[in-house]
């Protein structure tokens, strides 16, 4: 190593330039550093540091970063190890060097570097040897998870009360009444502002069964009333179980993962359920006996308490997995920010969908869900129209109209009619296949854009640990295996990083996600102002 390279390495180690370079004894430096195999111990390093006007280091610092086998040749690697540690612990090379190099007591030093010094094998043992939980979560089945939401199940009580009113009207007019008499009775019983949706239910039924009488409708309503009563009971039963699950989550002594998400529509609950099930069944995670907060399994009927529960879970979990679904919302964005501000890792999962598989999934969905997916991509995919050819453009409009017509003509919103949905899909034929492929392509474009924004564009993809000032970056993954592998490395303190200097910045990049995890800027003004408010 030549003297100039050594001066550069010392700058990297101490975080500041070597001053008075013209007074450095370069001949002595050259003689000491000539042979890369020359071993260096703590005294040697200190003598070299004093030769270039820098503060010396204490034993624990040398032992941890340089070790007994240090030579001139591996000195740069040891400096890079120090830089990685400095970025993870302090986000500031100067402060890290000053703080850690001056500690004389080995135990005190060990405490300072605890967070980065954990042994993955020891961590793995502690996960594998966890005792069984005293309280398990009562797992709610996929199709029932929308019942823990408010918006996702609002159609059930709405259908139930509408059915109740229409059934009462049918009893009131008797089985001999004609449709005119029945409609008049509904007008009497209904609030005029709510009359139109009620009459729409009547009209939809008559369109689906053109020859039906008022008496037939009464029989249909009585059957529907029983079904809706049962559905309401299902909602109540699921909520009782989900409330108990919430209590279980609250009493768990430790929590590994929090899943941040926003769920409004029924399919958003099912999507998240599938993602969590798939992730937790991964080979990378099954042996860890993880405890995680799954929002599809918990329920609180008070918005204030719900917010407090989620805030507590965010504090207790070691990391957050942020599921980037359709809409960016205040809820999950706040959860992401809260986790980063605590200095904990956030994994953002953005699905990298296979076009044909996804198109097939969409085609099998309920028509109302397909329409909602279209509304999402129309909102989120700015380039959708430009990508469509003239025929495709017409097809999207045509299928959209038919989907809208189907949704408007449903009798009940909360009782699925599989027969009608199948007939509808069959009537669309190849148009539906092409439409769903276009939808899938658009979803892919939206997800790719979101991933690119979080990875490369958005300033707040890196936020600051409010206690320490250390910048903390979101880790974006696009597949469940990558998500599982990264989660395992986070929990076992086994993350791998590359160190880069680019554009006057130092970056610590996480290997699996390829995302920036820590950063140090070389902007002198910003550095001085920033660290005056954190480290003084």
């Amino acid at each position: 190593m030549d003297p100039d390279e050594f001066l550069r390495q010392v700058k990297l180690l101490t975080g500041s330039e070597v001053k008075g370079r013209d007074q450095v004894d370069r001949d002595s430096l050259a003689a000491i550093l000539r042979d890369d195999s020359t071993s260096l111990d703590c005294s040697h390093l200190n003598e070299l540091l004093l030769l270039v006007h820098k503060d010396r280091v204490e034993g624990p610092f040398f032992h941890y970063f340089f070790g007994p086998d240090c030579t001139v040749g591996i000195f740069p690697k040891c400096v890079a190890d120090f830089q990685r540690a400095a970025m993870r612990l302090y986000g500031n090379f100067v402060f890290a060097y000053r703080t850690l190099s001056r500690i004389k007591d080995a135990n005190e030093f060990a405490l300072k570097v605890t967070e980065i010094a954990k042994e993955p094998a020891t961590e793995l043992d502690s996960f594998r040897n966890r005792r069984r939980k005293l309280l398990e979560v009562d797992r709610i089945a996929r199709d029932l998870t929308p019942f823990v939401g408010y918006l996702s199940m609002a159609d059930i009580p709405a259908d139930f009360r509408s059915c109740e009113l229409l059934l009462s009207a049918s009893k009131e007019v008797g089985s001999e009444a004609n449709w005119g008499q029945y409609r008049s009775e509904v007008e009497v019983m209904a609030n005029p502002e709510q009359l139109a949706p009620l009459l729409q239910i009547v009209d939809n039924y008559r369109i689906s069964v053109p020859a039906a009488s008022v008496s037939d409708f009464g029989v249909f309503l009585a059957q529907s009333f029983d079904l809706l009563t049962a559905r309401r009971a299902d909602v109540q039963a699921v909520r009782v179980r989900a409330t108990r699950n919430q209590d279980t989550y609250l009493t768990w002594d430790h929590m590994d993962v929090y899943f941040a998400t926003s769920m409004r529509k029924a399919w958003e609950y099912k999507d998240l359920y599938d993602f969590i099930e798939g992730l937790m069944a991964s080979d990378d995670l099954t042996d860890l006996n993880l405890r995680y907060f799954d929002p599809t399994q918990a329920y609180t009927d008070n918005r204030i308490n719900k917010g407090l529960v989620e805030a507590l879970m965010l504090k207790r979990a070691r990391c957050t997995v942020y599921s980037v679904q359709d809409t960016d919302t205040l809820g999950k964005d706040s959860e992401l920010a809260s986790t980063l501000a605590q200095g904990k890792p956030v994994i953002a999962f953005i699905p990298d969908v296979d076009l044909e598989t996804r198109a097939g999934q969409l085609a099998d969905e309920d028509p109302a869900t397909i329409l909602e997916r279209l509304q999402f991509v129309l909102y989120a995919d700015e380039r959708l129209a430009q990508r469509l050819g003239a025929e495709e453009y017409d097809l999207v409009g045509r299928v959209q109209d038919q989907l809208a017509e189907y949704c408007t003509r449903r009798v009940w919103l909360s009782l699925p009619d599989e027969g009608a949905a199948s007939r509808f899909r069959a009537s669309l034929g190849q148009d539906l296949v092409v439409f769903c492929r276009l939808l899938a392509k658009s979803e892919t474009a939206v997800y790719d854009k979101r991933a690119q924004t979080l990875k490369e564009a958005h300033p707040l993809a890196l936020q600051v640990n409010l206690a320490t000032g250390v910048a903390n970056g979101v880790l974006v993954v696009r597949s469940i295996p990558d998500c599982a592998a990264l989660l395992r490395r986070i929990l076992l303190s086994d993350m791998e990083f590359t160190l880069e200097e680019k554009d006057e910045m130092w970056f610590l990049r996480e290997r699996i996600s390829g995302c920036i995890y820590r950063v140090v800027t070389n902007d002198r003004k910003l550095n001085n102002c920033f660290w005056n408010f954190y480290l003084r």
């Binding site: 199940m153 009113l165 209904a190 918005r303 719900k306 917010g307 700015e382 129209a385 109209d401 809208a404």
Partner: protein, 64 residues
């Protein structure tokens, strides 16, 4: 968003049947009660009550 995309968006799309107030209130019973209040006219509530009472009376009548 391009003007073309807006054209698709502004088509005569399916309107929600009910306008559910969006809020962080997760209480099903309260939602149910409020929806019922909104749905019925005063006369409708009287009819429903009367039908409910007559059902109760029929159930309570001793078998002959």
């Amino acid at each position: 968003m391009s003007s073309d995309a807006k054209l698709i968006l502004k088509r005569d799309v399916h309107a929600e049947r009910w306008e559910h107030q969006e809020r962080g209130d997760y209480n099903l019973d309260r939602f149910d009660q409020e929806f019922r209040e909104r749905l019925y006219s005063e006369r409708g509530r009287e009819i429903l009550r009367a039908q409910s009472q007559s059902t109760t009376i029929r159930i309570d009548e001793p078998k002959r």
